[in-house]
Amino acid sequence: MSNPFRKDFPILDSTFNNKPLVYLDNAATSQKPDSVIKAVEDYYRKQNANPYRGLYQLSVAATDAYEEARSITAEFINAKSSKEIIFTRNSTEALNLIAYSYGRSVLKAGDEIVIPISEHHSNILPWQQLVKEKGAVLSYLYLDKNGYLLEEDIENKITERTKIVSIAHVSNVLGTVYPIEKIIQKAHSVGAVVIVDTAQGIPHYPVDVKQWDVDFLVFSGHKMLAPMGIGVLYGKEELLDNMPPFLTGGEMIEYVYEQEATFAPLPNKFEAGTPNVGGAVGLAEAIRYINQVGYDTIQNIEEELRDHALKELSQIPDVVVYGETKAGRDRCGVISFNVEGVHPHDTSSILDADGIAIRAGHHCAQPLMNYMDVAATCRASFYFYNTIEDIDTFIHSLKKVRRWLGYGN
């Protein structure tokens, strides 16, 4: 079966050691289609100038390109207005912005912030810093052995003391899709604000901020076909409006006096300095591409890949898969595993010799690794341009790993 989208991704024609690249590290970053590469190039060829600042036509063109990207992004997640879309470098910066602007201005001693144990470091460290500063408490929701959040933790740990719940839409280690709507309802019932980190979600599943009634949402362009260096913070307008600026400087001001300044309205209040217009243009094109492919198609392809991979992995003795091992709806095509007796770095190097790119390590989720009591794992993660053949190549290579390290057959 041929994949009609593969040809749009020029990098997938690369070879390593004369073996075709099998790219299975999509949770780290996705590859980019020709149309996105071209859109960025066109921007730099035809429209580049510093936006907002110039009074000449080229600068207006750059401003228009940037603001068009903002509207396209707003529409993509069904935001009420493009004022609710703040461009950042990535999810990490967006989460820091929320912690240091919103969190710092609302949190008081004794308040609680609740996050799952499976979060990426970018959704842990800003909160650790903040609770230290405020004498507040960082409290964790734990997982069952299949990677699902414990019901009793959702029930009991989100309480009147909780001011912020911050949660990934999809785990970057276990691929678990978390019950976002349920968490949001629970958090809102106690008056807490919810942040959803959809860095691993939105590349695969549609997101509608109105339907979720989510307060803040963050994601990274580079995991969803766009260039690196462009990310998105969505916030409800009334929340963003009341927040102090995060970074200060050019572009985010109205008037500046010797000792005082007034700030620009949304969204510019949160976008100090010259923005990444080329990145935003690339993101807009990535959104067009995803819409053209369609989330239904993306999911159909990925479910087939995921189910095939889980089935094949389950048939290799000495391979353990973490999280949900059965094909199911609450799991995306991000699969962490280990080969018994073999360190993940060795597994990754051996697969690399066959041109296969997977991730090995702690995946920026050390608290989860400790909770699961593993030092590190291998991770294969799929996107809709992967094929069943990619998975077969991966499985074939994986079967050799133990033999290479001298474990009989």
Binding site: H343, H345, D346, D352
Partner: protein, 146 residues
């Protein structure tokens, strides 16, 4: 030598024999080496008397390359003087960084020469040098290293 040979021919013997993977008696130096990006961890123990490394052993966990490279190192340094051990370490770093390519100069590294091609795998360089760095740190911190 490709990575396949590195794994199959060189490392296996060390990984499977585990002959240097144990604490030693009366160590004069005990030092931890960690490679945070990889999660490799070793604890190296040395017994040094009159400027000579009488005995050495290691414990820890991590990837095959870090563990086997440390084991190969221990084979090489046992019974050597501190100066010789430092020279071995510097030669090893030179080989991995591609700064020493003269085969004759590398000869003193014996089995460790098998790790030469790690220089083409930048992601694994840290693994290969972990034991050797720990050794140099250990020697530097030892008050009576002669």
């Amino acid at each position: 030598m490709g990575i396949e040979q590195i794994y199959t021919e060189v490392l296996q013997e060390h990984l499977n024999s585990k002959r240097n993977k144990h604490p030693i008696t009366n160590p004069t130096v005990r030092l931890n080496g960690v490679n945070p990006s990889c999660g490799d961890e070793i604890e190296l123990e040395l017994r040094m008397t009159d400027g000579v490394i009488e005995d050495a052993g290691y414990t820890g966990r991590g990837c095959a390359i870090s563990q086997a490279s440390t084991s190969i190192m221990i084979d090489l340094i046992k019974g050597k003087s501190v100066e010789e051990a430092v020279k071995l370490a510097d030669t090893f770093f030179g080989m991995i960084k591609h700064e020493i390519t003269d085969e004759e100069k590398l000869e003193i590294l014996e089995d460790a020469i098998a790790l030469k091609d790690i220089s083409h795998m930048p992601a694994r360089v840290k693994c290969a040098v972990l034991g050797w760095h720990t050794l140099k740190d250990g020697i530097a911190t030892n008050p009576n290293n002669g």
